[in-house]
Symmetry: C2
Subunit: 146 residues, 2 copies
C-alpha cells in the first residue's frame, strides 16, 4: 500500500507546485495504475475538481466503464462527502487514505457515509497509511499561506 501512496504523494506535490492544496489520488486495479490526479479546484475554478473525482474520471475513461469494481483508490487525505459518494458510485472496492482530516470539517463523515447500510455498495476503508508524510505536506502548505 505504501508504494501507491507514495505515488499519490507525488501527485499531491504537483498540486503544491501550482499553489493548490496538496492532495493526490491514484486508482489501481490488479496492481496497475488506471488513473492519478491532484487537486486543482482553485486553478480550474471548478468545485468538483478534487483529486479523487479527477482520478475516478480518468480511470473510467481508461477502462471504458463507470464501474471500477476491482479498483482501490489511494488518497493522501481523508475524502470529503462528495468524494466518498463518488467512490461508492464508481463501485470502488477499497479506499486507502493517508492523513485524517482532523483539522477539516469532514472528519469521520467518510466512515459514516460509506458504512451507511442504505448504500448498495460496500467500500473497505483503511486510514493512516504514510500518515505523517501526507499530513506534513498539508501542514507546510497552510503554514506558508498564513
Amino acid at each position: 500500500m505504501q508504494k501507491f501512496m507514495q505515488i499519490a504523494i507525488k501527485e499531491a506535490k504537483k498540486a503544491q507546485k501550482i499553489d493548490e492544496v496538496p492532495i493526490g489520488a491514484v486508482i489501481v486495479v490488479n496492481g496497475k495504475i488506471l488513473g492519478k490526479a491532484f487537486n486543482k479546484r482553485n486553478s480550474s475554478k471548478i468545485a468538483t475538481h478534487h483529486a479523487e473525482i479527477l482520478a475516478i474520471e480518468k480511470a473510467c475513461k481508461k477502462l471504458g466503464d463507470w464501474r471500477l469494481e476491482n479498483a482501490e483508490i489511494f488518497v493522501t487525505l481523508e475524502p470529503c462527502p462528495m468524494c466518498a459518494g463518488a467512490i461508492a458510485n464508481a463501485r470502488i472496492k477499497k479506499l486507502v487514505f493517508g492523513a485524517y482530516d482532523t483539522s477539516g470539517t469532514n472528519h469521520n463523515l467518510i466512515f459514516e457515509i460509506l458504512n451507511d447500510t442504505r448504500l448498495n455498495h460496500k467500500v473497505e476503508i483503511v486510514g493512516g497509511i504514510l500518515e505523517s508524510e501526507c499530513k506534513q505536506l498539508l501542514t507546510d502548505f497552510f503554514k506558508k499561506k498564513r
Copy 2:
C-alpha cells in the same frame, strides 16, 4: 420554483431519449440559468456524470468561480451522497428537488449529509416540487426496462 423544475424535467427528458435514467438539473443565480444538464453515466461511462455534477461544472465554468454562492439547484430526483457533497462544496445556497428517492438506496441521506454540523456550508433543502411529474418519468423508464 415550478418554472425551473420544468426546465430540469426537460433536461431529464433528454436523458430519457438516449436511454439514460431520466434525471435533470438546472442551476440558477438571481433568476438566470447558469448551467443545465442531464444524467449521462451510461453513455459517457463515467461514474461521476450525474446531472447535478455536470450542471455544477457548467455553472462554475460560466461564472469563472468554484463558489456558486447565491445559486439554487433544481433537480428532478433527490440527490445521492456524491451530489449532496458537490452541492455543499460549490457553496450552493438552496437545493430544490422533485421526486423523493424512496425506491433508491440513498433516501434521506441527502438530509443527513447536508444537515451535518461538521460541514462548513449550510444548504437549504426543499423536496417534492412537481413531485408526481418527476416521479412518473422514472416510473415509466423503469417499467419499460423490465
